[in-house]
Symmetry: C2
Subunit: 517 residues, 2 copies
């Protein structure tokens, strides 16, 4: 298998309108409260004191980092900052429960005292959702890391929320199954966090979303109630499917403590091809043909524009994979149970698309190391985009027909504004992403932070996405970073209904405050 | 393709504890209010009068059946009774809106006046959920039957809720796609009803559930608010995924008026095999092998016990498909994009399971008519179960390892009680169903209604299912029929949280009252 470090690496040293600080050395992390001066601590929240510690200590024993009684700020640091080093909170208390009863006791207490909390999994999110802003208590799930059961007939895994994604996948792999989610941060992220953020990743095209694969959840509500819906059944039509609400709720209405998820058979054969195309119209044709001809074995259809490939080759010092230069490239992956059959299907597909001149040129990996090398031309783009100093990154869902238009229009805007080219702030605008999921990564590669560049981009990008019925956050969620822009993807009515739900479950607003909706 | 008339036919002339009337001629349909004497009309609901008609007439024109001003009881009859002829309501008003604005106006008015309503799609449900009990107004969606759009690159269909399932499938079939749901009632049921009941059906094993395939919904809430979430994106992480709540809510918190759904490529090749096995352990082994070897092309794995096949052959006058008699039979279907590859995989699988003596004997259909004939041995069981006069039917989800135990135990109970055999009320107990979905149909074939038989079965069946973490309704929903038994599948906490949600969206309780939770 290829090395997995897809878009989850994109947050590293990126810049955006509301952080705007990629030139700052990473070891001096600005407090979020300073970076977002418009935010104010909610005065209704109690501040943690010695009395609270007296409650938590007997409950959790050593599984607590207590910055109230002692100065342990360096111990607290990893829980206060996100892995991108873009956000930094002021928490003085970290709790590490190892079972659902403890989580329930903690939330019940915090709710009654109006102590704000932040649920924290692997802390690998890209939008600042898993670290405190002020002095919210961090409830870290890392110690809830047990596989509860796996049934290799049904393929259903039941596990604690704190199990690391890679461990979950390795566990089911030993039973010849595959976890239906895969993403760059798999070595650190936790499955509870994956569910809470409705993570998308690399396998969505094939295995579908969390909403289909999650069969059950155990969730602790803010008042301590345990929603015990950890079933393992594929079919259960007995009442409202409440667990669905917590998928993608980013810890704002409850803490997920257990997960039941359906895993498929692990594919025995994986094939990878890479080809060049003349236009986005041809890319769409190729995708349609891939869906039709590769059908049940198609596991990835990735798009990279010419600029992104030029950039990657230059930044990583690589040679072109094909003879000529093309405005578009695609990567196709198949996964199936029979290598011979899959190869035959893929060859036939390539023969067809080349015969019909849908594709100009293409290659097929002959072994795993070639597959990995080809994947490098897709996965390396994210890091390469930072090659010149700064990058503005957007993770957008856009209906396929219009998917690439925003890249061309963004480029046009910078040309019109005289901001792009030699000696100008913008080096290039690139587009790439999960074509099969209608998910585009729009990157504006710059020589550094620039107010002018930012003003060309925002709110124009969000307005464009909104006008074309897209989403301003395809797979990264809202967190703190995208909270201000949700209205570009959701109507006032939807916002009102969402807030109504938040108030229902979390009337004191203690769950992951200042973020999300 | 085979004729589709799966479990959706099973309701015909069935009996159950709370109807208990299969000996009554079908043309005399008992009022539900008489059959369920414990139910009482909610006195808070207003009765429809001339004033109300004055509001609805200008709004809907001719699209109204008004039993207040005129005697039109025969016109009202089809809306008052379900297609199984088991339930009969007293409505005197049917409204047939043809757009979302009309639905919104209707609900807003009804909510303000406390007029109870029943949303009605194709009226093909099996649990009495889509007809009134008393004088609830029927809001029938049949006129909202337009395909709004289909994108043959992304495979996303957007359509009115009242589009008939078969029409939806035919529409996407003309674009080489397949609707991810298929079930017996496809010629009558509507996609809005399918979503509202979270229908399972024949394609769930392959394409997954509604929760994964539905990309967007348009829903009118009881107060007339239109939840406009009819997106077409596979990824959109911007806030709570509210639409999920309406999938399987059976019209109790809103009326679905529009559906956006992801459709896959239509398979080009379909193969069917049928084989005999010695034990349920062997069935499980065969299923595991089928998953492993057929993997991405496996589209059905159906289980039929020996008794069910004996019964079918006797009732339908058919010969055995295999040379010997076996305690268990399975039907395996593959669907893929390459007939040759699929045949090779299936042959290899059969060779393996027969070589390893997992399977005793088997046949593979050589053409479509043989495929259909084999499917008959699975699909014909439901009708055959009524051959002796009566049948008690249960649609259960049970974890695979224990799936068949309930059949053997039920049989044992009747033997112990002396109720089964020649001249006794029970002819036989049979088990069959969607093995791939952990979904068992337990049928007790009787010579007629019997209080003694009923007492052996209930609540024992529900208790058994509850004890083994199953579901008392796998795919048929709750409606009126299963409302009393939900507590066998859901905890008090879950019930409380469900009721909280119902109260949030429908504080006056006007939506499909007397049913569901």
């Amino acid at each position: 298998m290829r090395t997995q470090h897809d878009e989850a690496t994109q947050g590293k040293a990126t810049t955006s309108a509301n952080s705007g600080d990629q030139s700052r050395p990473q070891h001096q992390i600005k407090y979020t409260s300073d970076a977002y001066p418009n935010l104010k601590r909610n005065p209704n929240f109690k501040r943690v004191d010695e009395e609270d510690i007296k409650f938590f200590k007997p409950l959790l024993g050593e599984a607590i980092i207590d910055g109230i009684s002692h100065d342990v700020s360096s111990d607290l640091q990893p829980y206060n900052t996100d892995w991108m080093k873009k956000y930094r909170g002021h928490t003085r208390l970290v709790l590490k429960p190892d079972n659902v009863t403890q989580v329930s006791e903690i939330l019940k207490y915090c709710n009654s005292k109006k102590l704000a909390v932040v649920p924290q999994g692997g802390n690998t999110g890209l939008v600042g959702g898993s670290v405190p802003v002020y002095d919210e208590i961090v409830i870290n799930l890392a110690r809830m890391n047990k596989i509860r059961s796996f049934d290799d007939v049904s393929g259903v895994l039941v596990a604690d929320a704190g199990v690391v994604l890679q461990q979950a996948d390795e566990h089911v792999a030993s039973h010849k199954h595959i976890f239906p989610l895969d993403l760059g941060a798999k070595g650190s992220c936790q499955i509870g966090g994956n569910v809470a953020t409705n993570a998308g990743g690399l396998r969505l095209l094939r295995y579908g979303s969390m909403h289909g694969n999650i069969l059950g959840l155990e969730v602790v509500l803010p008042d301590g109630t345990v929603l015990d819906d950890l079933g393992t059944l594929r079919k259960n039509n007995t009442g409202y499917d409440l667990k669905q609400l917590f998928i993608g709720a980013e810890g704002t209405i409850g803490i997920i403590t257990g997960v039941s998820i359906l895993c498929n058979q692990r594919p025995k054969a994986v094939n990878v091809a890479y080809f060049g195309l003349e236009s986005y119209e041809k890319v769409q044709e190729a995708y349609k043909e891939a869906k039709g001809q590769l059908s049940e074995i198609l596991s990835a259809f990735e798009l990279m524009d010419g600029a992104s490939q030029w950039l990657y080759r230059r930044a990583a010092g690589k040679e072109p994979l094909l003879g000529g230069d093309y405005p578009f490239y695609c990567l196709v992956e198949t996964s199936g149970s029979n290598s011979e059959h899959d190869t035959e299907k893929l060859d036939k597909f390539l023969e067809y698309v080349m015969g019909k001149e849908i594709v100009c040129d293409g290659i097929v990996a002959q072994d795993e190391s070639q597959s990995q090398a080809i994947w490098g031309y897709r996965e390396g783009v994210s890091e390469a985009s930072q090659h010149w100093g700064g990058v503005y990154k957007y993770d957008l869902s856009i209906p396929l027909a219009k998917l690439y238009d925003i890249v061309a229009e963004t480029r046009q805007r910078f040309n019109d504004n005289g901001l792009m080219g030699k000696g100008k702030p913008v080096v290039d605008v690139i587009g790439y992403g999960h074509m099969g999921d209608s998910n585009l990564h729009l990157n504006v590669c710059t020589r550094g932070y620039s107010k002018n560049v930012e003003e060309v981009l925002e709110p124009w990008v969000y307005e464009w996405v909104s006008k074309h019925n897209g989403s301003i956050s395809a797979e990264h969620g809202l967190g703190l970073a995208k909270k201000p822009y949700i209205r570009y993807s959701r109507s006032e009515t939807m916002m009102k209904l969402m807030k109504q739900l938040k108030d229902l479950y979390d009337p004191n607003g203690i769950m992951n405050p200042y973020k999300y909706i």
